[in-house]
């Protein structure tokens, strides 16, 4: 169907080099990837799903330029010698990068050669019922509702929802009818110590004056589910103007007079369209060749990107403080309650609860506030060929918010930047089932748990790569609430995200990688030390008995000088096997050494 033969003599241009540095190589198209192998055999793989745009530029003397922009912010610039080939590649990529239906996505063909039970186990790794239990619900104030068991009142919500015990079914149903897309107020996070909750919903259909008794009751029920319930906050995460404009369409925001004891608050995060164009502007600036400092800074300012990130974080801080400082419950919404609401609820929880700052906890957080509550990953990431106006970097902003927190609190997170980047990679890769579709109902219909793999066990398997060597658990417990400083100068351009693939811009030596390796090595050294210590003990005991063995004349130290340290994967096994022999001899004389040496025997018996 596509290009049958590889295209040779293709040039890959360094997009920031002013002298147009380039590599020459061969370009291949596979069913899932574009592959470029340069003359030094270095491979560049680009997943078709990652391609955001392909552009064919005007023919030059050296060939036909083809620019590919990826969703993970990689930009490659090829020059194809023959225009005809370029045209073919262009057309193939256009098709390949815009799948029309879900079954064309990589996840349905991806096969990591794992057996079925392991695949299923993978899907069970994150269990949200377990997570709500961890938070402390159900309890005397909150219960699991079966109102949406068959998605009958809200299609974009999960089946299992937690609501106040005092909210009866008619109240729930009534409230859901008064909320955009039926997304009525439900529990997102329960703070065990403060007995306060984060709840989320969509905007009320209040128009200019409409009221709904059930909705008012619903909010009251949430309010009194907090034993210290003098008031609760209702956070509308939209700018006031947007919320007011919505009233004309029969939507809007809560009238403080109609709801008992609420404190209503706008926080002014812009909508998905503003965010989309903001990112676009940011990328235009950062992609400019021979950029001056001032054009960079003014471009950064004009894009508004950091302003938006700050707005999201400020909202999350407001939320977290309301709970941690005032013990107040907070209800968060925006328009539909699946973009800004997800950002604010998840970042707020992350500030409040150190569990979400662990690797597993972060997966749970994404699974809960993003996947289960129906953030429209498929639409927002443009996974299928569809309405480009639905695409928006809402989740990317969430990750960037987390990154800013890791910058301010380098010891509070179990995971590192690579973890955030890897997750970002996979919301677009469509390689795993987790982020396909727009809501749980859709995912069930797609039979993702039967046909695809879950990302989380794969990340967990390689978690070594994602561990923060500076992570301090005590620090996390000691510091219950993270209180980041959001003065403007704390916000920085996230180079490692937006220039992930432009290595020339990065520090040439990474402190982080070095410390990570060292921290790994320390673990190995600790083990080596223990084992050597055991061997030494044995050999000392052995010398006491002066057992002489003839065939052990060879030197033990494999490096020959006994001074420099080499990671002794082979070295110490050889050493140990030899000493094991002594061990058995001394064992008869000294049974007590048996215990200390046993672990080594167990470890190395396969060597015999």
């Amino acid at each position: 169907m596509h290009l049958s033969t590889p295209v040779e003599q293709v040039k890959l241009i360094d997009r920031f080099s002013t002298s147009n540095k380039s590599l020459t190589g061969t370009l291949y198209l596979t069913a899932t990837h574009l592959l470029f192998i340069d003359s030094s055999q270095k491979e560049t793989w680009i997943l078709h799903h990652h391609i955001a745009a392909v552009e064919k530029l005007a023919l030059t003397t050296s060939g036909c330029p083809l620019v590919i922009q990826c969703k993970n912010f990689r930009i490659v610039h090829f020059i194809v010698p023959r225009e005809r080939d370029c045209h073919d590649i262009y057309n193939s990529l256009l098709q390949l990068s815009k799948p029309a239906s879900y079954d064309e996505l990589y996840a349905f063909s991806y096969n990591p050669k794992q057996n079925e039970s392991k695949r299923l186990q993978g899907w069970q790794l994150i269990d949200l019922a377990e997570e709500y239990k961890r938070m402390g619900v159900p309890n005397s104030n909150w219960q699991l509702s079966d109102a949406n068991r068959d998605y009958e009142i809200c299609e974009s919500y999960p089946r299992e929802l937690y609501v106040p015990r005092t909210a009866s079914k008619p109240v729930i149903v009534g409230s859901s009818k008064f909320r955009s897309k039926g997304r009525f107020p439900v529990l997102s996070y329960y703070h065990r110590d403060k007995e306060a909750a984060i709840c989320r919903c969509s905007q009320p259909l209040s128009g200019f004056s409409a009221r709904c008794l059930e909705d008012e009751n619903m909010l009251h029920a949430i309010s009194i589910a907090n034993p210290a319930h003098h008031y609760m906050y209702v956070m509308d995460t939209r700018p006031k103007l947007n919320a007011m404009a919505n009233r004309a369409a029969g939507k809007g925001y809560e009238n403080e007079d109609n709801y008992a004891n609420i404190r209503f608050q706008f926080v002014g995060i812009e909508n998905i369209h503003v965010m989309r164009s903001s990112l676009q502007k940011l990328l235009e600036v950062s992609g400019t060749k021979a950029l001056s400092v001032n054009s960079f800074l003014s471009g950064l300012e004009n894009s508004g990107w950091l302003r938006h990130i700050k707005a999201v974080l400020d909202a999350a801080i407001f939320l977290a403080k309301a709970i941690a400082v005032e013990n107040a419950t907070v209800l968060v919404h925006c328009s539909d309650g699946w973009d800004r609401t997800s950002q604010v609820c998840s970042l707020g929880s992350l500030l409040l609860d150190s569990y979400y700052r662990t690797i597993k906890g972060f997966m749970v957080l994404i699974e809960k506030d993003w996947i289960s509550f129906g953030h429209k990953f498929s639409d927002r990431c443009g996974q299928l060929d569809g309405d480009s106006k639905e695409i928006s970097p809402v989740f990317t902003q969430f990750l960037e918010g987390v990154w800013h927190l890791t910058e301010q609190f380098p010891q509070a997170f179990e995971y590192n930047e690579a973890f955030l980047l890897q997750i970002h990679e996979h919301i677009h890769s469509c390689q795993f089932g987790n982020f396909l579709g727009n809501c749980q109902k859709e995912r069930e219909e797609l039979k993702l748990k039967e046909k695809t793999y879950s990302l989380w066990p794969f990340l967990l398997d390689e978690q070594k790569k994602y561990l923060n060597p500076l992570y301090n658990q005590d620090f996390s417990q000691k510091l219950v609430l993270l209180e980041p400083n959001t003065v403007s100068f704390n916000f920085k351009f996230w180079r490692n995200m937006y220039h992930q693939f432009d290595r020339t811009m990065h520090p040439r030596q990474s402190v982080f990688n070095l410390i990570m390796t060292m921290s790994e090595q320390n673990k190995q050294l600790e083990k080596d030390f223990k084992e050597l210590e055991a061997v030494r003990r044995m050999s000392l005991e052995r010398s006491l008995f002066k057992i002489q063995i003839g065939f052990l004349r060879t030197r033990i130290d494999p490096t020959g000088d006994g001074s420099t340290y080499h990671r002794p994967q082979h070295a110490h096994s050889v050493t140990t096997t030899r000493w094991l022999f002594f061990f058995f001899l001394s064992f008869f004389a000294q049974p007590c050494t048996f215990v200390s040496g046993m672990s080594i025997v167990a470890k190395y018996c396969h060597l015999f």
Binding site: N294, L297, S298, Q509, V535, G550
Partner: protein, 550 residues
């Protein structure tokens, strides 16, 4: 003594001190000739403030009823506030501080009164003499000589007594070249690149004037550094336009006809008060926490500070590239050759020479390329970012150099023996210090006032093990390679350790840094333990072997 006249109110009680990150503290304020001291009379003395008057950049007074407030803005960019009861006391103290922080006579400065509380192991005044540096050079090449033509500072008042010049050029020729160069700064050796024998020289502009004056000794001098058939590069730190205008005032640049073996490149680097304005704007932007994002970014942009960083680094990279990649010798100059020239030559050495990335090597670089090379510290660092009483000479030239070094350090965090604190320490001492190192404008002035005899050198203090340990980079691994920094705007950062130092708490960052240190230390300790055990086991084995064969 004179100071007493300036201190009308030597002490005031119930003064409240406000400063960044600490709760307000009440105590007694004392004024001495050189210090402002606040003592809270707490048992542990933890809350005491000792501030050098020379560190004070500007003060402001305010009154509410009889309670006076003095806001003190320091040259290290810190701002503190003193609430002093009693209008008269407050006024007296304010005027004393003002007078004491702007003493006319350098010899009244603290370094002349400071008595060290530590034992001097190595006198820093003798640590980096030109003779020592020349010894190092002679071990690799014999094409250069140390000339004492400037022994009496008569040929060039801003040069040290000994300079390194091509062997083939005699002192008489040097004297003649000096008359052809601005301020007598004839071309001298700045750096010898061992790898390929190429050199970097520095000078001031040639005095060609409008009628194209020439000096054959000048071209002979710089040509003496070229290999047969090879061309060299002249990097002029001014734009072509500025260089041309300089001719009207008697200055100028090397014309191709007279220097056919040299290619001239103009790489404009900002200078003088433009840099000072830039610093003032940047500090103002950093100190206002109420800025929204757009305002902050536009203020950061308007300050142009990072633009200057990029310009300077780009020029330094160019110089380094000519030497290392093109295999050509380089002459760097601007107008006087005491400011932007030194930024370029010293940064190029950081890029090229691994020795400059060690602590001692960096100290030697600061001595050689800044202090002995006659950067006018006294004039440039007289005031920092807050002063309103500006003369024209202040300029954060050295500060920008340190920021550039910090940028390279950020990009090559394992290639430097020193850490950020070392650079911050140098910044502080360049502006206000108990040591004599950064006093005066050149070696001639320093020797006239017998600085080495009358004051303590900063290096005497820094180079003691207990101080050095604070400045060591735990990640350091000697890297013998040339390190090419990225100058893309995305790679340059605001030097938070200096500019945001007093504006936000760095507690969590400091703790993380400490943890990083712990991991490194633990790694060393474990390796040592494991290696020791290995050796022990090897010995046991050998013993066994011997027992066997016996």
């Amino acid at each position: 003594m004179e100071f007493a006249e300036l201190i009308k109110t030597p002490r005031a009680d119930n003064v409240v001190l406000h400063r960044p990150f600490y709760p307000a503290v009440e105590g007694t304020l004392c004024l001495t000739g050189h210090h402002l001291i606040l003592s809270s009379r707490r048992q542990d003395n933890a809350e005491e403030l000792w501030l050098l008057h020379s560190n004070i950049d500007a003060i402001e007074k305010r009154f509410v009823g009889s309670l006076g407030t003095i806001i003190i803005k320091c040259k290290d960019l810190r701002i503190i506030q003193l609430d002093i009861p009693g209008m008269e006391e407050c006024l007296n103290i304010a005027s004393s501080i003002e007078a004491l922080s702007t003493l006319d006579s350098v010899t009244l400065m603290y370094p002349f009164f400071y008595r060290p509380m530590f034992e001097v192991v190595e006198d820093g005044w003798h640590s980096f003499l030109p003779e020592r540096e020349f010894e190092l050079l002679s071990s690799v090449t014999n094409e250069w000589r140390l000339s004492y033509v400037n022994k009496e500072f008569s040929v060039c008042p801003s040069y040290p007594p000994a300079v390194t010049v091509p062997k083939s050029i005699d002192d008489e020729a040097l004297r003649r070249v000096a008359t052809f160069r601005h301020g007598g700064r004839f071309p001298v050796l700045s750096y010898y690149h061992k790898k390929n024998g190429m050199v970097m020289m520095r000078s001031s502009q040639p005095l060609t004037g409008t009628n194209g004056r020439r000096c054959k000794e000048d071209s002979a001098l710089i040509n003496a550094t070229l290999r047969a058939g090879k061309r060299g590069y002249i990097i002029d730190t001014r734009s072509l336009n500025v260089a041309q205008q300089a001719r009207a005032k008697g200055g100028g640049f090397e014309q191709e006809v007279q220097y056919p073996q040299w290619r001239r490149i103009h790489k404009s680097v900002e200078r003088y008060n433009i840099l000072q304005e830039s610093l003032i704007k940047l500090v103002e932007a950093c100190n206002d926490q109420s800025h929204n994002m757009d305002r902050w970014l536009s203020k950061l942009e308007a300050s142009n500070w990072l633009t200057h960083i990029k310009e300077i680094l780009t020029a330094a990279c160019l110089a380094a590239q000519c030497i290392d990649r093109e295999g050509a010798s380089v002459l760097v100059h601007g107008t006087e050759g005491t400011d932007s020239t030194l930024q370029i030559t010293s940064l190029a050495q950081i890029i090229l020479d691994p020795r400059c990335r060690t602590i001692r090597g960096f100290e030697a670089l600061v001595e050689r390329e800044w202090l002995q090379a006659g950067h006018p510290f006294q004039q440039r660092c007289a005031q920092s970012a807050y002063s309103n009483s500006r003369q024209k000479c202040e300029s954060p030239v050295f500060f920008l150099f340190l920021d550039c070094v910090w940028q390279i350090l950020r990009q090559f965090p394992c290639s430097f023996e020193f850490n950020e604190h070392f650079l911050i320490m140098l910044f502080e001492h360049a502006y206000a210090s108990q040591f004599g190192t950064f006093l005066f404008n050149n070696e001639s002035e320093r020797s006239k006032l017998k600085l080495p005899q009358k004051t303590m050198s900063l290096w005497s203090w820094v180079n003691r093990p207990q101080e050095l340990s604070k400045f060591k980079n735990p990640l350091f691994e000697a890297n013998s390679l040339v390190i090419w920094p990225s100058v893309a705007p995305q790679s340059l950062q605001l030097w938070e350790g200096v500019f945001l130092r007093w504006n936000r708490s760095s507690k969590f960052l400091d703790e993380a840094y400490e943890e990083m240190n712990n991991i490194i230390e633990y790694n060393k300790e474990l390796q040592a333990k494991v290696n020791a055990l290995r050796r022990q086991l090897a010995e046991l084995e050998t013993d066994d072997g011997m027992q066997e064969s016996s």
